[in-house]
Symmetry: C2
Subunit: 393 residues, 2 copies
């Protein structure tokens, strides 16, 4: 009578793309724990603990720290629409897909957007930011910490000082960096920061951790118009996430918050510094292995992200064929290039649970196999040997 | 060094509030299935199947049918911001909290909102809708099918004809009705419909099923301005959910879609008509039991929802004390009243998996116990006896 599909049975992938990353079995188990009500005392305790753990991971004391009920892009939109009122000036730094997205979001919120652009893969200098900030005096400057589309890392501390010296607020995309490299919200004085759960936190996608400085909260409190999005309006959402009011706003994604709770716990049990060092080490090993296969990075060494390796596809190699072979023969997912890097780069993620020596060696061995299929002549075993040598020190 | 909470261990609740409802173990298991990439061929197949099953549950052939990556309120906002451009006229029918919310969302989207109001618990007559539509000629009329805040059911078919005769579109909140009573999108010619996963579909909260008629899609295609929300912009989201393009927009909540897939499968395996009959039967049994305890409904019999029973709290009974005792002593969650019904009603859900004779009998027995604690003099066992008699026919 009805056309009813078969029950689920997902393949076992190794997720080495730009996210989602591999999920720890304990996180999967937490996702499947018994649902309770969204105002159940137990769930309120979980919310408190998620907030407390997010503060530790963001390295902040910001009270307004919570998980938005949407994916990373909803976190981006939350930051923008709460800080921006129509006519406000916002500088958006665009050196990849996600900076471009932020500019689009800001225009839709009615901001007068000034785009500061760099080619994909490059980062912004303090000098050019300072010149733009002095010229335009924006209410908000938006910038991406770790560009998932290019694999480039943007230093933030000096830029934050520049923006504040000019009376502005700094809004930062930490989707890919959080949990994989330092995001020091208080020390760097970042005002509005958003992330996603499916990168270095290794929780499936579905929530967006955000944190707002007292300066940002003051800007929100001074608004003269309602936030254009009801769903993302922090003036209401914060009352649900506040232990003193718990005013109903929307029904939080209970089980997704369970998953994030366990993912954050695992991050803290490992320790932030250990986790950052692990990401760095596996990145270096992968880089050594790729170099031995004659593959170079699309970004300069000094700005290359440890968790997202944008590698140049060798001449004559069929991008899609290699990615398909990796997926179908070895169950390994890597990402395609985005925007102008489409067809020119692979995006190899070593995020969270997926950042392991095991994955590095396996990936290099599998890639060598795929490149040989493509007719490339390589020294057999060169990639895994170089990575192994790096690990042995 | 760090302040790390204990692992999860949620209590086993029976969820008889206004949602979330009880989750089937197979849905919990699906939530915890291995994460794959958001562009993995396997996940694309799951998306196709979710769409196909949603069409069956919505009783529609609408191509633009998908699960928005947010909760029911994000579904509401998706419908409004995609259909409304600044200055468009929208009538919003307000007879409960969710109609009021829709008016707020529409105002934030720049609509010229005309609120048509009825007291909480009542529904709108075709005549008053017709008069308002003729007077205001709205682009969109928004109305709630099943008001979760009051337990009232709004007939839609005649209203839809009236709105269309006047050249408008009808936007409907089916958060609480979908999966529990008929939602005939095509037969009733509804144009934009949203729901949530945590009511009669019995999946945890986190996604919002939506469907749009060809008329609504035409209105979206004719827009002169971008949708104000990037995250909820269907002109992009639909390309990700389209099997022919699969253009990356945002990273879908993979595991939440697994859960919805299994929840929809269970709905279809049971069969829509069987499911509606089950909701009706358990509602009637509960009503008989409550009547035997001297408890009346806050809405008239002919408009009372089967899945959300708004019961008047007997005089002299402490609302919060009874709900606490139900939760702490028996693990049963029911909901408090909202808005003007706060403190005056309980909202007793019999949604999806929670709509069972077992829960009806248990709840009546537990409630009798709590009312006795409050000092009410009742005929012992009257509630369960009346419900049992109803079941025995």
């Amino acid at each position: 009578m009805t056309d009813t599909p078969q029950p689920l049975g997902p393949p076992q992938r190794i997720l080495m793309g730009p996210g989602p990353s591999d999920t720890h079995p304990q996180v999967l188990s937490a996702l499947g724990a018994s649902t309770v009500g969204h105002l159940d005392p137990y769930f309120l305790k979980i919310m408190n603990e998620v907030q407390s753990m997010l503060r530790q991971v963001f390295q902040t004391k910001n009270e307004l720290t919570l998980a938005v009920s949407g994916t990373g892009s909803a976190g981006m939109e939350t930051c923008v629409v709460n800080l921006i009122e129509p006519g406000d000036k916002m500088i958006v730094c665009v050196n990849g897909v996600f900076g471009g997205r932020m500019a689009d979001v800001a225009e839709r919120a009615g901001a007068e957007v000034v785009k500061l652009e760099r080619p994909f893969g490059e980062v912004f200098s303090s000098a050019e930011i300072e010149a733009a900030v002095k010229e335009h005096s924006p209410k908000v400057l938006g910038i991406v910490h770790a560009e998932t589309s290019t694999g480039a890392l943007q230093p933030l501390e000096e830029i934050s000082r520049i923006v504040h010296a000019n009376g502005g607020l700094i809004l930062v995309d930490c989707v890919t960096s959080l949990g994989g490299l330092p995001v020091k919200v208080d020390e760097w004085q970042l005002d509005a920061v958003y992330s996603g759960t499916q990168k270095c936190l290794s929780c499936p996608p579905g929530l967006a951790p955000v944190t707002f400085s007292p300066r940002a909260v003051e800007a929100i409190d001074k608004r003269t118009r309602k936030v254009q999005s009801w769903y993302l309006d922090l003036t209401m959402v914060r009352n649900y996430w506040s232990d003193s009011s718990r005013a109903y706003h929307h029904t939080a994604p209970i089980n997704m918050n369970y998953g994030l709770h366990e993912a954050l716990r695992l991050v803290l049990v490992e320790g932030l510094e250990n986790r950052f060092a692990r990401h760095r080490r596996n990145h270096e090993a992968l880089k050594a292995g790729l170099a031995a296969l004659g593959i170079r990075y699309a970004v300069a060494d000094e700005v290359a992200l440890p968790m997202l390796n944008a590698a140049q596809i060798p001449d004559g190699v069929d991008d899609a064929a290699v990615r398909s072979q990796l997926l179908n023969e070895f169950g390994i997912e890597i990402g395609a290039g985005l925007g102008p890097m489409k067809g020119k780069t692979w995006r190899i993620g070593l995020m969270g649970e997926a950042s392991t020596p095991r994955n590095v060696l396996l990936f290099l061995a599998a890639l060598e196999n795929c490149l040989a299929t493509q007719g490339l002549e390589l020294t057999p075993g060169a990639g895994v040997a170089a990575a192994g040598a790096y690990y042995r020190g």
